[in-house]
Subunit: 464 residues, 2 copies
């Protein structure tokens, strides 16, 4: 029985690898993703490059337009010019549109791929057939995509409503302006983009729980990733039935949030330039917010530039780990990091197998998790070296900037605008790689891997 099954898998794999739809016409999803994001960046750069997009009515430097467009499409949030003062309302709307397209693109693509890889909705054979007959717009697929879009719109509308009410009642903004601010920051928060319309990000709201908790919640939900959120919606009261993906994502999120909050409280409690002036509950709120944002919201309510360098290192680590798979978060993903811990633990005990819950982690997934992380470490180290050579800044700040770009995070110690042009190009490339790299890599590998699935059934999880 098992033998026969193995053979059939191998056979299917052999057939598919040679099918013209997959190889011959170059329709590999990885290519689609790179081209899609690249084209969106180009369109965004052209739009932001017009005089219409700036308040002064002059064209921006092409690199400013490119950097901002990349930052928006990759939902990063790093900026070389102040968003509110440099860009006109048209420019801001271009940015929010790029964020929406970028965020939705990531969520739908990643969700789609995860559905295909995990084979949960039974798409496997059907999709394979569709791919070849080009009738991709089948019911299942359409269903998934619609749910992602509807879900993101509902979340953004809710967040926008809360923010709008607060801007009107708490800060006396006119309703029209409050709605605009609410929508902009709701989209920016839910898509983990981190763009804000104040030069100091959200520092003026540091002790306002309405703004801070709403934005933090939007960032968390957006960063969990659609598959996890949807599974939680269906089965949150039965953790025993959660998939490995959901368990690891939720567990690691809780762990990193708690650890981050404690670390920031410990090192910033008496810092007069950050938490010092706040009361205790204000400090709690600020520390929690600072712990949420590296995964990977990118807003800040404390002055990052004034933080202790140990806080920067904690933020670096949290940013590098990032958020959930198939969400709008960046980084190597909490899933990957969680797997790493399990793998290292197994390795330390000399165990071959890595069990999480009642599932065995496939060895290919283990290798992917380890490779993605190490590739990230190598990429960050090389980029940091280049920036150290071409800027006068210290490792502290340069590493922070590089990790922030790689993890599409958007936090900064304040040196982004000071970096020379070559550095901006490097950061743009890092944002692009950080955004689509792991996803594409994960995709390409996950899809390729299926063609060789000649082991016992295992739970497949995408790492990108």
């Amino acid at each position: 029985m098992r033998r026969a099954r193995e053979r059939s898998y191998l056979w299917v794999g052999f057939m598919r690898r040679r099918s013209p739809a997959v190889q011959g016409r170059g329709r590999h999803p990885a290519v689609v993703i790179v081209v899609g994001f690249g084209a969106t960046v180009v369109v965004g750069t052209l739009l932001l490059g017009t005089p219409l997009a700036t308040t002064e009515g002059d064209s921006s430097h092409w690199l400013t337009a490119l950097f901002t467009a990349t930052s928006a499409v990759c939902v990063t949030g790093l900026v070389v010019v102040d968003t509110a003062t440099h860009w006109s309302t048209f420019g801001e709307m271009v940015i929010v549109a790029l964020i929406k397209v970028g965020g939705l693109g990531i969520m739908t693509l990643a969700t789609l791929i995860m559905v295909i890889v995990s084979g949960r909705i039974g798409l496997r054979t059907r999709l394979s057939a569709q791919w070849e007959t080009k009738s991709v717009a089948a019911t299942d697929l359409r269903h998934v995509l619609r749910r992602v879009v509807v879900f993101s719109l509902i979340c953004e509308a809710t967040v926008a409503a809360v923010l709008t009410v607060r801007f009107v009642t708490g800060y006396g903004e006119p309703v029209g302006r409050a709605v605009y601010l609410g929508l902009f920051h709701a989209v920016s928060a839910f898509n983990n983009a981190g763009f804000a319309l104040w030069p100091d990000s959200l520092m003026r709201f540091v002790t306002d729980p309405w703004i801070c908790l709403t934005i933090a919640l939007a960032v968390i939900v957006g960063a969990l990733g659609y598959p996890v959120v949807f599974e939680l919606v269906r089965t949150w009261w039965r953790p025993g039935r959660w998939s490995v993906l959901t368990r690891v994502t939720v567990g690691m999120n809780g762990l990193l949030l708690a650890g981050g909050t404690l670390a920031f409280l410990a090192t910033e409690w008496r810092n007069p330039a950050t938490m010092g002036p706040l009361d205790d509950s204000g400090r709690m709120l600020a520390a929690f917010f600072a712990a949420v944002m590296p995964r990977s919201g990118g807003f800040n309510t404390l002055d990052i530039g004034q933080m202790h360098s140990s806080s920067w290192l904690v933020t670096d680590a949290l940013m590098f780990i990032g958020g959930g798979s198939a969400g709008t978060a960046g980084g190597i993903k909490v899933t990957t990091f969680g797997f790493l811990l399990f793998i290292i633990w197994s390795e330390l005990r000399g165990e071959h197998r890595v069990n999480i819950g009642h599932r065995r982690l496939p060895s290919a997934t283990q290798r992917q998790a380890l490779s993605i992380s190490l590739l990230g470490v190598i990429l960050v180290t090389l980029s940091t070296w280049i920036l150290l050579v071409i800027t006068p800044h210290d490792l502290d700040q340069v590493l922070f900037e590089v990790v922030s770009a790689f993890a599409t995070n958007g936090l900064s110690t304040g040196i982004t605008a000071d970096i020379p042009l070559a550095g901006h190009v490097l950061l743009s490339v890092l944002m692009f790689i950080g955004r689509i790299g792991p996803l594409t890599l994960g995709t390409a590998l996950a899809l390729k891997q299926r063609t060789r699935r000649y082991e016992l059934p295992e739970e497949k999880v995408i790492l990108g």
Copy 2:
């Protein structure tokens, strides 16, 4: 045929795992290694703690004695007091003895384990039997150990002779003193210990090729590891026959040496506090020396504290990678790093298998390589965070110090003595873990792994 072989392997594994010699009496090599090194550190601390060991005739602070003993046994070279002025001749001789014991311990243990793991000398069944009958001192084993001891003595004597002649002819030292200096630095260099009898390490010899190249060569040979050196001695003219271990070690060493030299030349060429005042050939020599020492000699001829922070990052990376397996070098080892590059390259191409030369890298070895590296990254990050919290220094210098301790390297930007006591304890622990951690881990896993060897014959390589 193959089936039968698999079964017998499994069976042997099953038997051995329950054999009283391995489990019941706790004679696992990992335990032996930890206890052995720990005991040597304790003896060293007691000896260095006596008034006899200091020039002033007072007892040193116990932590100074412990730190120095750990640094010597783990062949690291980090110091909290100046070796020549603080310690008496007796103290210096204790240090050189600890270096010799530590270095020899590492080389023999690692070589022994590698021989057992790779099964090259056909020890497998014999040793297994010996283990149980306690007749470990068999011919093969004794032969290997004697070769290691003789080889290290020949190397040290040669280096000492060259250095002695140079100290007499070039610097007018009396013959007795020159012999003492020659022996001390020969042992320190060949064992990659990095202890020097001048407060500025070897900075006074920066343009002296006799001293610099001799020491660099000793460091390189010691860091290659005995198995590689011996294989090179036998077959250096036939690279096609080299084992995977030798190929990767030699290749990565060349790559890292060339890359490091170029990087230092690029960033320090005009630095008035380092290479600036030297002529071109002096710069070449200094850059080469600076590129050799992170792997992991620990001497310096340039003022590390005055280097550009990008040079520090390059040094961090080189130190972290370290030297060859089963040598006196530290770090994750060039073998591990080389494997990582092959693994990531395979992963990027979506390949399951990793081929190096004409051999397939076992998946267990792949996981070990990846796990050791990531465990190193996590350990370094956590330790750096702790040191950042308890010291006023920047990430640049703290990271350098932590990586230097973890990689048992001994280079420093000059903050070692300024770090508070808790920091010295942390660095001592890091040196100990860095020294025996990967080795022990590699050992434990490599030996355990053999008990489950139910795949096709593959080339086994230890990563520690």
